[in-house]
Symmetry: D3
Subunit: 135 residues, 6 copies
Amino acid sequence: MYAVEVREHIMIAHSFRGELFGPAQAVHGATFVVDVAFFREDLTQDGVVVDIGRAGDALKRALAPLNYRNLDELPQFAGRNTTTEFLARHIFDAMAKAAREGALGPGGDGLARIRVTLHESHVARAWYEGAVADA
Amino acid sequence: MYAVEVREHIMIAHSFRGELFGPAQAVHGATFVVDVAFFREDLTQDGVVVDIGRAGDALKRALAPLNYRNLDELPQFAGRNTTTEFLARHIFDAMAKAAREGALGPGGDGLARIRVTLHESHVARAWYEGAVADA
Amino acid sequence: MYAVEVREHIMIAHSFRGELFGPAQAVHGATFVVDVAFFREDLTQDGVVVDIGRAGDALKRALAPLNYRNLDELPQFAGRNTTTEFLARHIFDAMAKAAREGALGPGGDGLARIRVTLHESHVARAWYEGAVADA
Amino acid sequence: MYAVEVREHIMIAHSFRGELFGPAQAVHGATFVVDVAFFREDLTQDGVVVDIGRAGDALKRALAPLNYRNLDELPQFAGRNTTTEFLARHIFDAMAKAAREGALGPGGDGLARIRVTLHESHVARAWYEGAVADA
Amino acid sequence: MYAVEVREHIMIAHSFRGELFGPAQAVHGATFVVDVAFFREDLTQDGVVVDIGRAGDALKRALAPLNYRNLDELPQFAGRNTTTEFLARHIFDAMAKAAREGALGPGGDGLARIRVTLHESHVARAWYEGAVADA
Amino acid sequence: MYAVEVREHIMIAHSFRGELFGPAQAVHGATFVVDVAFFREDLTQDGVVVDIGRAGDALKRALAPLNYRNLDELPQFAGRNTTTEFLARHIFDAMAKAAREGALGPGGDGLARIRVTLHESHVARAWYEGAVADA
C-alpha cells in the first residue's frame, strides 16, 4: 500500500463537559498540527497517490471553518465534546467526502483509506483512520 | 479506528549478550522516549478513546521499575537481552494488563489494540503492537 | 557559557485586539510548548548549571496560572495582547524572579541569563532572552 | 507484531513530466530522510527483529546509486516520474530483495513486512508498505 | 531581546565545484527547511516583534526565485557554490533589505537582527545571523 | 556570523554522586544526540564554514571513547559527575583542540566559536558554547 501525507495546522478554543476532563472543563485552547495521509493500492499514471496540491486545498477548506474559532460556538458541534480524537474523525469525514466527490483531483477516486492525525502537544496526539467508502 | 497516543521517557543502563551486538555487549545505556497508542473502534460517551490522565498514570507505573536502573540487575529480565523491541513488548504487556484490569478508567475496557514505540535515538526506534486480549 | 533547557507545555484560549491580527481577533487558542534555558558561566560543585528538578518545579508554578485558561479573563493581562512573544517575556520574568529569590535551588543563584521559547506550531515560535539581573 | 526502524538520507535532483506537477516540472531537488521499518511476528533468539547493523548496511547499498545524483539521468528510471511515493516503492523492492536473499543477516529471513517512508520536507512525506514475499 | 521565527521550505537542484565536496560535485539537490528569526529589543504597540503575516509574505518573495530551480542556472549565483551557509546569507540579505525598506510592516523598522537557518537534513543545518543595518 | 551544525549520537551508562540527583544516583544511562555547531565570520574560498566531512570525522573521534561505555569506569572522568552539561564541555574541548590543531581541514583554522549541544530526551538538553581560542 502506498501513502502520501500532508501537514497543516489550526488554532482553536474550546471547553469540555465531564469530570473526566478536570481543568480542561474551562475554556482553553489548542494548536492542532494536522497530518492527513491518503492510502492507495497503486500509483496513478503520473506516478502519484493523489495530487497533493488539490488534496492540500481540500484540507484547507475542511479546516477553515474551525481555524481561529471557539468551537463551543459552532452549531455543528453543539452538545459535543470537541476532543482531539473527535476532531480527527470530523476532519476525516470531510476529507473522505471530498475524495468520493472527486474534489481531490487525479488519484482521488482510487483512494482506499485516509488517516487524520492531530498533534496537540509534544507529548500527545490522536488519529482516526478509515476506509474512504465507510465515512 | 480511533487512537490516542501519549509520551513519557526512561533512562536506563544495560548490556547485551551475543556477537551480533558488537560494542553494545559492554555496559552502556539509553534514553527511551516511549509512545503508547491506544486504539478503540468507537469513542466513549465523553467523546474520548481513553482517559489519558489515568492512562498516563498507568504508563508511569509501568515504567517506574525500569527508570534510572541498570536492567542487567533486575530479576524480571534475568537471562534476557533487554533490546529496544523486547522492552516495547514488556511495556505493552503491562499496559494491556492494566487495560484488562480496568486500571485505565473510562474507555479502557473497550480498547482493541495497544502499540508501544521506543525511540532510542534520532535514527532508530522499535515498537510492538497487539490486541489487548492477546497479551 | 553553559546552558540547560527543560520543556513543558500549556493550552490556553485568548483573542487579540488590532487589525494586524486578522482572524486571530476572534477567541481562539494555542498549545505553547515552552522551553526554558538557564545559562551559567561555570558549573556548580555538583557539575550542573542548575538543579533541573527544582527549576522544573518553578516552571510548573509559573505556568499553572495560565494553563487551561482563557487569558482574556486574567486580570494580570487586562488590556494587553497576550501574543507569543509577550508570554515569553511574562514567563521569563517569573523565572528570573524565581532565580533571584533562590527558588531554583543550588546553581540558581549564579545564573547569568534565561531564555524562554514558546513554540506555537510546527512553523512558528517566539522567545525572550535576558540577563537574570535585568528582569 | 514487532518492528524496528532505521533512518538514513539522500540528496537528489530530478524533474517531473505532467501538468499536475506545476513548477516541479523543472529540474529541482530534494533531501529525502528515509525510514525503513522491518516487521516480524517474533523476536530472534538474540531478542531482536533483525540485525540493525547489517540491515543498515543493506539500506546504504540500496541508497548509494541514488545519492548525490540527478535521477533523470539514471537508466533504471527512464520514462518514470521519480515521485516520493515511487521512490519509496523502489527502495522497498531493494530491501525486500535483500531480506529474501539473506543479506540482512540473523532475523532477516523471518521478516513479514517492510515499510519505507520518505520525508521530503517538514510538511510532506510518502511511504510504501508491503509483505516481503510480495515484492 | 525578543524574537519570532517563521518556517518555509524550498526544493532545489545544484552542484558544487571543488574536491572538498566529493560526490556533491555532481548535480544533486536538497530540501531546505528555512527558519527566519527576527530580533527586536522591544515589542510594538500591538505587542509583537513584527507582523508575521507580512514577514512571511516577504520570506515567500525572497524564496520564490530559488524554489523548484536548478541553482546552477541562475545568473545571480554564477561562479558561486550555493552551499547551505551561502544560501543562508543570501536569504538573510533579502530579508534585511525588506526590513530596511519597510516591506515587513509594523515592527519591521525596529528590527535589530535577523537569523536565517537552513535545515538540509535531519543531521545537518547552517545559518547566518547579522544586524539588519549591516546587510 | 555563519554557522554549520552536524549531528551524531552516543549511548552511555553512568551514575551521579550527590543528593541533588535523587534516583539518578543509581547506575542508569542515556542516549545523547550530539549537535556540534561551528561558527565563522566569513566563508572559505569554497563557500563553506568548514569541511563538514572532516569535521564530522573529528566529531566521531571525539565521541568514540565514550560511546557504548560506562562513563563511571573511564579514568578521564574519575571523581567527576558526567552530567549532560559537563559532557557538552568535554566534547567542546576536544573539538576546539581539533580546530586549533588543523584537524578539521579547510576552514577549521578560522573558526571563531564552537557550540556543543547534547539532547538527553525530548524534554531536556544542555550545551556549552565558547571561543575556539579559549578552550
